[in-house]
Amino acid sequence: MEVGLTHLLFVSTALFFIGVFGFLTRRNMITMLMSIELILNSVNINFIAFNKYLYGGNLDGVFFTLFLIAIAAAEAAVAIAIIINLYRSHSSIDIENADEMKF
């Protein structure tokens, strides 16, 4: 059996929903950050898969993926900085404790 577009899309969709599930249920902010990375990576897989199977002669999807990896790295740096600051002020990285911004 050859690996087709559908298989790859299946993997990426699974990855996406695993990420969403992790983002919604984990209380630890580091874990939530990792879940976001999963979501981003599922998008990367989508780009690569579509590029390979539908537009074999082009490299647009690959470039987009490279961009996304760079952006994900930057985003991780910012997110970790926020988490460190939250830890300093709240002595905890539990998302439940950071709910001051409400009515």
């Binding site: 919604l24 998302i95 439940e96 709910d99 911004m101 409400k102 009515f103």
Partner: protein, 647 residues
Amino acid sequence: MFNNINILLIPLLPLVGFLLLGLFGKKHFKSSAGWIGTLSLLASTALSLITAYQYFFVSGKVNGVFQKLEVVKFAWLEFSPGMSINMGVLLDPISVMMIVIVTFVSLMVHIYSLGYMKGEERYSTYYAFLSLFTFSMLGLVLSSNIFQIYIFWELVGVSSFLLIGFYFDKPSAVAASKKAFIVTRFADLGFLIGILLLSFHAQTLDFKLLIERLTTATPQLQSTIATSFLGASVLTWGLLLIFIGGAGKSAMFPLHIWLPDAMEGPAPVSALIHAATMVVAGVYLVARLFPVFAISCPVALHVVGYIGGFSALFAATIACTQTDIKRVLAYSTMSQIGYMMLALGVSGYGGENGLGFTASMFHLFTHAMFKALLFLGAGAVIHYVHSNEMKDMGGLRKYMPVTHLTFLIACLAIAGVPPFSGFFSKEEILSAAYQSHKGIYFVALATAGLTAFYMFRLYFSIFWKKEYKTNHESVDEHHGEAPWTMKIPLLLLGVMAICAGFVPFGLFVSSDGISWPSEFNLMMSIAPVAIGLAGIGLAWIIYKSENNLSGRVSEAGRGLYQSAYHKFYIDEVYLFVTKKVVFNLIGRPSAWIDKNIVDGAINLSADLTDDTSGLIKGWQSGKLQQYAIWFFVGVIGMVWLFVYMLN
């Protein structure tokens, strides 16, 4: 010609004094405030005398007619090229006469206050207020258009309010200042409506143009007369409404109730504001528009005459029963202003017919001198005795010789005894009244008799009657009659009260600006002098020495005496009308509507917003993951919508 800078400096010097003392007085000029105020006013007085000399003797007259000269003029508020509110300085015989009176009396009061207000806590504030008043009053008399006069009119009201309430820790003074302000302000509403009516129809605010357009046959005059409301033309309404403003300031019946209470202020203030200058602003206003009254609308002028005559007699009756010396003088002021109004009311326009006008201005002039003198003398007495009540006085002639002499001069002047100043002006008023309206003549004659009676009742009660027994020995032993700063103004005003009558007034002030020699009519002076002497004689019998005659007289005319003593219950009527009628029928219902309907509508919308936000505010929980769920649900909902529904 005139030096415009000099004329502008006359009102501006007191303004500078006010700003200087008002802003820096408490810190820097605590003890020198009086001298600063006095010196600035001294300069102002000198300048106004120079101006008067130049106007009357050098350049005011062109072809035998005193001109209305607009020496300074600039547009203050320009709405459109055709419509602007100007500021300017108008010189004509009455305004020049008024600046001389105002600066002179104000100077006397400034000097007098150096002694009277010495050691006062708010000494510099007092002088700042005096300067403000002088500035506003000078601005008022020099105004070249009717809107400018209104501005200064209100400024005068404010400074009067501030000075009546000068002792603001005394509840009665506070009440009196509020009363004065509210009553005059109420009258000023009429004034404002009158201004708007007249200036709308005449299409100008400027006095010169307004008078010209409303006295000659012009389209403006036609439209003013043709438009009518409730049976009277707009011209009549406008003039009467303006007169209401004047009646409020000049304490004419029935808007006089504030004047007696205004005596809560310091005595020099009463002399300046409530005797010599501000209260005659109403007379001045009518005189300013006199051609319009006399030529175009004699009906309104008759109303002025009747109200003046009634007020004169009414106030004179009350003055006979009052025991507070300043209140006696207050009612006397009201009565004399009534006299001036009456004189305007019986006057015609031009030449011989304008006798009443000249007489009114003449009386304004002489009255300013002797009434200021009376108030300053009363102030000296109060300063010495520490009481306003007649019963605490008596026999003061030995202790206060200067005050006694000057007070006697003023009393003789106001009673109309020749050759003191009041005699000449009263004689003119009475002949004017005799020529045009016999009824008013007899009212004026009766008033003259009453005036002589109550003034000498006052004089005998203060200076004769009984031996003076002091209540507080320690105080009186070390302070004499009065400091020299208080005696000098008394003496100067005393000289003026004697001499002012010899001015040939008709040569300077007349209704149409043309000089005419007012001839002295001996026959006309017999009746008033006789009735005046009778009044003095009666007062001599009753009050010269201690006896029970006054008690018996008041007992005999008990009803009249009691009602006059209670000022004919006018205050009570006002209280009834305001408290019972206005408050209950208008005030409370509108308060109810305001509280329940107007506020209710606002509160309803506020409550609705509050309730709604209470329902939905839980959505903003601060929990990041909840927001994320909403976001995903939303995205899924959108996808569902676009994929399945919109295809």
